[in-house]
C-alpha cells in the first residue's frame, strides 16, 4: 500500500463546518461558527475568541485550521446581540460604539461555547481557549473563571498594564491571575507596545509567584498581530513558529 494511502487511512483533512446557535451568557442564544474533523475519533475542543474587528473571515479560517489539526473548534459571535446578521465589520463598529464586550458577558459566552464542545459525542472532555489581540486578554480571562484545560494568549493587551480611560475593557486581569485554572501559552512580539515587554514580564512574574504553568515566547522581528495573514503586520516566520508551539501545547494538554 502506498505511503500516501496509509496516511489517508490514519488521518484526513476532511471536515464539516456549520453555523450553529449556542447558549451564552445569561441564557442568551448567540451564533457561533463550528468546524469539526470528519469521523468519530475522540478529541479535544478549541474555543477561538475573535479579535475586536469581529467574527470575520480570517477568524473563521483559524477555526478551520484547528479542525484540520484534529480538534472540534468553535468561535462564538461576541457581537451577535448588538448586530445579529450584520456584516462582521459593521457589527464590530456597533459593538465598539456601545462600549465593547463586558468581561462578565465574555466569560458566559466562552463558557457556553466550551459546554457546547464538551456535549459533542466526539468530545474527550478537554477544551482549550485561544484569542488574538483583545481576544488574547479574553482567553486569559476565560481561563481565570472557567474550567478550561489549556489557554493561549496571542499578544493580548492589558492582561497586565493599565488600560486607558474609557477603554472597552476597563481593567487589567492582575487581580484575577492567581485564579488561573489552566496552563497558559503566551506568544508575543518584541516590537509590540500593547502588550509591552514590561507588561509581559509582569505577567511572567505574577504567574511564577502563584505557581502557574506559563509557556511563553517573544519573537524579536514581530510586533502586534503577527499571525494576521491579511494584514501588513503578518510575520511569516513568527506565525509559523507560533502555530507549531500552539500545536504542541494543545497536543500536550488537550490530547
Amino acid at each position: 500500500m502506498a505511503d500516501g494511502m496509509v496516511r489517508s487511512l490514519i488521518m484526513s483533512d476532511s471536515m464539516v463546518t456549520s453555523t450553529v446557535t449556542i447558549t451564552g451568557h445569561g441564557g442568551d442564544e448567540i451564533q457561533a461558527y463550528l468546524a469539526r474533523p470528519e469521523g468519530d475519533r475522540p478529541r479535544g475542543g478549541v474555543v477561538v475568541i475573535h479579535h475586536m474587528p469581529g467574527y470575520d473571515r480570517a477568524t473563521k479560517e483559524i477555526v478551520r485550521r484547528f479542525a484540520e489539526l484534529g480538534y472540534d473548534a468553535i468561535c462564538p459571535n461576541l457581537y451577535w446581540r448588538e448586530a445579529p446578521g450584520a456584516a462582521p465589520d459593521d457589527a464590530a463598529a456597533v459593538a465598539r460604539a456601545q462600549g465593547g464586550v463586558p468581561d462578565e458577558r465574555l466569560v458566559g459566552d466562552v463558557g457556553g461555547a466550551a459546554a457546547y464542545l464538551r456535549a459533542l459525542p466526539t468530545s474527550n472532555g478537554k477544551v482549550g481557549t485561544i484569542g488574538y489581540c483583545s481576544g488574547g486578554r479574553q482567553s486569559v480571562l476565560a481561563a481565570c473563571n472557567l474550567d478550561i484545560d489549556a489557554a493561549v494568549d496571542c499578544y493580548g493587551a492589558f492582561v497586565t498594564g493599565t488600560p486607558p480611560e474609557g477603554a472597552p475593557m476597563r481593567r487589567n486581569l492582575v487581580d484575577q491571575l492567581p485564579n488561573l485554572r489552566a496552563p497558559l501559552l503566551g506568544l508575543f512580539g518584541a516590537e509590540d507596545q500593547y502588550p509591552s515587554q514590561e507588561q509581559v514580564a509582569e505577567l511572567r512574574d505574577i504567574l511564577a509567584a502563584n505557581g502557574k504553568v506559563f509557556e511563553e515566547h517573544t519573537y524579536p522581528d514581530a510586533g502586534h498581530a503577527f499571525f494576521s495573514v491579511d494584514r501588513p503586520a503578518y510575520r511569516v516566520a513568527a506565525a509559523n513558529d507560533g502555530w507549531e508551539r500552539i500545536t504542541a501545547f494543545y497536543g500536550k494538554y488537550l490530547g
Binding site: A93, A97, A233
Partner: protein, 88 residues
C-alpha cells in the same frame, strides 16, 4: 498595539454610501487595526445612523498623517467661512 480608546459624538448631517444617502447622527472615532486599509493601525471614523441598523454606516480608515491632514483641511475650510454662515 491597540489603544481601545473610542470617542463617540453626536453629529447632524448626511453622507453617501454606494447605494444611497444616509442621515448621520453619530460619529465614532478610534485608532486601531483597519479592516481594509493596508496599514497596521489607522484612525478610523464610523459615521452612522444607529437607528437604521449596523449597515447604516460610512466608514473611513486613514493613516495618522492623512487623518491629521484631514483635520487641518476641515479647520482651514471652516476658518474661511463667514461666521454668520456657521451659526446654529
Amino acid at each position: 498595539m491597540c489603544t481601545y480608546e473610542t470617542v463617540c459624538i453626536c453629529v447632524e448631517g448626511s453622507g453617501k454610501g454606494p447605494q444611497s444617502w444616509l442621515r448621520l447622527t453619530q460619529a465614532t472615532v478610534y485608532f486601531d487595526h483597519p479592516v481594509h486599509a493596508m496599514a497596521g493601525h489607522t484612525l478610523n471614523i464610523d459615521l452612522s445612523d444607529p437607528s437604521k441598523g449596523p449597515s447604516a454606516r460610512i466608514a473611513l480608515e486613514l493613516t495618522a498623517d492623512s487623518a491629521r491632514a484631514l483635520v487641518a483641511a476641515i479647520q482651514q475650510a471652516l476658518d474661511a467661512v463667514p461666521a454668520e454662515l456657521t451659526r446654529p
